[in-house]
């Protein structure tokens, strides 16, 4: 269960004025649900996601993940949360360029303290599942297409069996067909791994197919849509 209450994030702009990127947002997402966030550019979607992933701290409000308040955790606990509880997928893939696909996936498990043989086995399994097979697993990101890179990124996000997968416009750099395939993959694998997903997208078609959809405008949650299934 992901529960957000009265979440607010303010930024100080260069001229000293305050930008409220996330403004008093409250919502809850049940385990295993695939949720999407939609909204115009600059509405605060990425900011909200980075608060959920403990990449940034809220100005006020609470974030509860698996009955744990994460907005105040620190140090090692914070690293552990990012490492074990969260899987991040970024718009521009964000793979480490001088590591192979397999090494990129292993990296997340290395940070989690998984031993080397186990992480190589799991990385290979995950890469097989996302469709990066054989010698491709030993390619560097530069040698892979955008869609392939995002597949590797999804494998990396799933590596430590996180409870929550956060994806910020995972298909934003891909063409429609590839984007749909990537979204389906994310959907399918998160279901298989039983992970909750919160994905930002500007593709209303995609958003319409998720279990739940939040519309954000000027930092405020303005609309919550539930599919009939859930």
């Amino acid at each position: 269960m992901l529960k957000v209450s009265n979440l607010t994030k303010e930024f100080k702009a260069g001229d000293g004025s305050t930008i409220t990127a996330v403004n008093d947002v409250s919502f809850a997402v049940s385990d295993g649900v695939f949720a999407s966030i939609i909204g115009k550019s600059g509405s605060g979607k990425s900011t909200l996601l980075s608060l959920l992933g403990a990449l940034d701290r809220p100005t006020s409000g609470n974030i509860e993940v698996a009955d744990k308040n994460i907005e105040k955790i620190n140090g090692r606990e914070l690293d552990d949360y990012r490492c074990h509880e969260i899987g991040f997928v970024f718009q521009n893939y964000q793979l480490i360029p001088n590591l192979t696909a397999r090494e990129n996936v292993c990296l997340a498990m290395e940070f989690a303290g998984v031993d080397r043989p186990t992480r190589i086995a799991r990385a290979e399994e995950l890469l097989d599942q996302v469709g990066i097979k054989g010698a491709r697993q030993l390619s560097r990101p530069g040698k892979l297409s955008g869609g392939e890179q995002q597949r590797v990124a999804i494998a990396r996000a799933l590596a430590n069996k996180p409870n929550l997968i956060l994806a910020d416009e995972p298909t934003g750099n891909l063409d429609d067909t590839t984007g749909k395939m990537i979204f389906d993959l994310l959907h399918q694998l998160s279901r298989k791994e039983n992970a909750t997903v919160v994905a930002v997208t500007h593709d209303l078609d995609i958003a319409g197919r998720t279990d739940m959809s939040f519309r954000i405008s000027d930092g405020k949650l303005v609309e919550t849509t539930r599919s009939r299934k859930k």
Partner: protein, 498 residues
């Protein structure tokens, strides 16, 4: 793969940058090491000069000392300089056997050795011929007359004769003197015997027991002096402005006789060119210098009869020069070290700024601060170690020429000082020129300026240790710079990246 090996790999991510940073860093580290070597060499020399400060006092007729440090080569050069016409106030100043006795009676003087140096004309005074000198004859003969080339071929180098009452004193004045064969002469005798330099011996087919003629007398060769000098073979004096090997040349071509024998043969009974007095204790040196000066008294013009100088005073000049070289190299060493630190600092700054986004991603996927720091430490260490390996090469190659440059620039200025006549000096030499006498041995006592050029560059394993030390410190600077910034990167930046 772990964070350390990732750091090592990261060091080679940008080939051109790796190469350029490494090379610039290598240059700075190399120069720092070269400065360190120079500094060590100079310090070693300072130590040895300090350790060698004997309790000797050199007494020469007033004005002679002006030529200290020039060696035989310098002596000959001066002796042939033109200006015979100028008058000479100190011409009459020589030391005598009576002076020797006076000096021996001065408080704290333990012993005194006297030397008379004479130049014998080849063919007339002696049947010996001089070995060909290695230094430039043209200069010595007549620097002002370029048309004298024809005369050079006809010129016969005179034979340097030294009469000594205490042959063991030779060692302290000439440095490493060894007999290559035979025995030393008895300096206190009046025997017609001599030891000769090995080059002279070779030139004249002399062996122990051979004889030669000097001022009509037959002299027996008792021993041969070895002119090889181990300390000068790896010394740095090739740029020092002195005729290289001038000292060896002198030892190799000298004839050493008992003092009284030479005095009698050359018709200079009782005459002495220089006296070396040994003081019972170094602490009494200054007192003895004063006492000897006043004992010998002044001439009719009120000038001191003799120049009295202690090793200590000469050594101080050398040490002062060396100390300034050492300061120069210390400052340069620090400057190069700082430059190395600045280079790695900026390089790592560049690296970490370029990888801000990546650092954000690493944090976002759960990397601990320690992991990221380890990565940058490894990267900084690899760059620095590469630079140190190349820098060691640079340092080893640069150390000797660098030390030479430092030493010779300082040496040439100190030589100028020493070469400046200190009160009627050149006149004094002219006086002895007309007598056919040279104050050569007195010059050897003045080791001061010559010692600077004898700085020995030695590169040993401690330099590698220093290099590693420099590497660790430099790498630490780089890694710290990178880590401080890396720690400030907010993981949320990963989301914002273009």
């Amino acid at each position: 793969m772990n964070s350390f090996s990732r750091g090592v790999r990261n060091a080679f991510r940008n080939g051109i940058r790796t190469i350029s940073v490494t090379l610039i860093l290598a240059l700075a580290i190399g120069l720092a090491l070269a400065m360190l070597v120079a500094r060590q060499a100079v310090q070693t020399k300072i130590d040895s000069v300090q350790a060698s400060i004997g309790n000797n006092i050199t007494i020469t007729p007033a004005g002679m000392r002006a030529f200290g440090g020039m060696g035989f080569g310098g002596g000959f050069e001066r002796s042939n300089s033109t200006s015979d016409s100028s008058s000479n106030s100190s011409q009459g100043n020589t030391l005598t056997t009576a002076d020797l006795t006076k000096i021996k009676n001065v408080a704290h003087v333990a012993s005194a050795s006297a030397t008379l140096t004479v130049r014998a004309t080849s063919g007339t005074d002696t049947n010996l011929t001089s070995p060909t000198p290695t230094f430039n004859r043209g200069n010595e003969l007549s620097s002002s007359d370029s048309s004298s080339a024809a005369q050079i071929t006809g010129f016969k180098m005179p034979i340097a004769l030294a009469g000594v009452n205490n042959p063991s004193q030779l060692a302290s004045t000439l440095g490493n003197i060894k007999l290559s064969s035979g025995d030393m002469i008895d300096g206190t005798s009046s025997n017609d015997e001599a030891v000769v330099g090995d080059q002279l011996a070779t030139q004249n087919n002399l062996k122990v027991g051979s004889t030669f003629t000097l001022y009509g007398k037959t002299i027996t060769v008792k021993g041969i002096l070895a002119s090889s000098d181990s300390t000068s073979s790896n010394s740095t004096n090739s740029n020092s402005g002195q005729p290289r090997g001038g000292r060896n040349m002198s030892i190799g071509s000298v004839v050493v006789l008992p003092l009284s024998t030479l005095q009698t043969l050359s018709g200079q009974s009782g005459t002495i060119n220089s006296i070396i007095a040994t003081v019972d204790n170094v602490n009494n040196t200054d007192a003895a210098v004063t006492a000897i000066t006043s004992t010998l008294g002044t001439d009719s013009n009120g000038n001191n009869i003799a120049d009295v100088t202690s090793d200590k005073a000469n050594a101080q000049t050398t040490i002062d020069s060396l100390a300034s070289i050492k300061t120069t190299s210390t400052i340069s060493l620090i400057a190069c070290g700082v430059a190395a630190a600045v280079i790695i600092f900026l390089a790592m700054l560049m690296v970490v700024r370029e990888r801000r986004n990546e650092i954000g991603v690493l944090k976002a996927i759960g990397a601990k601060g320690k992991t990221i720091i380890t990565q940058f430490v490894a990267e900084s260490l690899v760059l620095t170690l590469l630079a140190v390996i190349i820098g060691l090469g640079v340092g080893i190659v640069a150390a000797t020429p660098l030390t030479n440059t430092l030493v010779s620039s300082s040496n040439s200025s100190s030589q100028q000082d020493n070469g400046m006549p200190t009160g009627g000096g050149s006149n004094g030499v002219q006086g002895s020129t007309s007598n056919g006498q040279r104050p050569n041995f007195a010059q050897f006592a003045n080791r001061g300026s010559r010692a600077i050029s004898d700085v020995v560059v030695k590169i040993d394993w401690t330099i590698v240790l220093y290099a590693l030390g420099v590497a660790v410190i430099t790498a630490a600077v780089g890694a710290t710079a990178a880590s401080v910034i890396a720690m400030k990167v907010r993981p949320a930046e990963a989301v914002r990246a273009e």
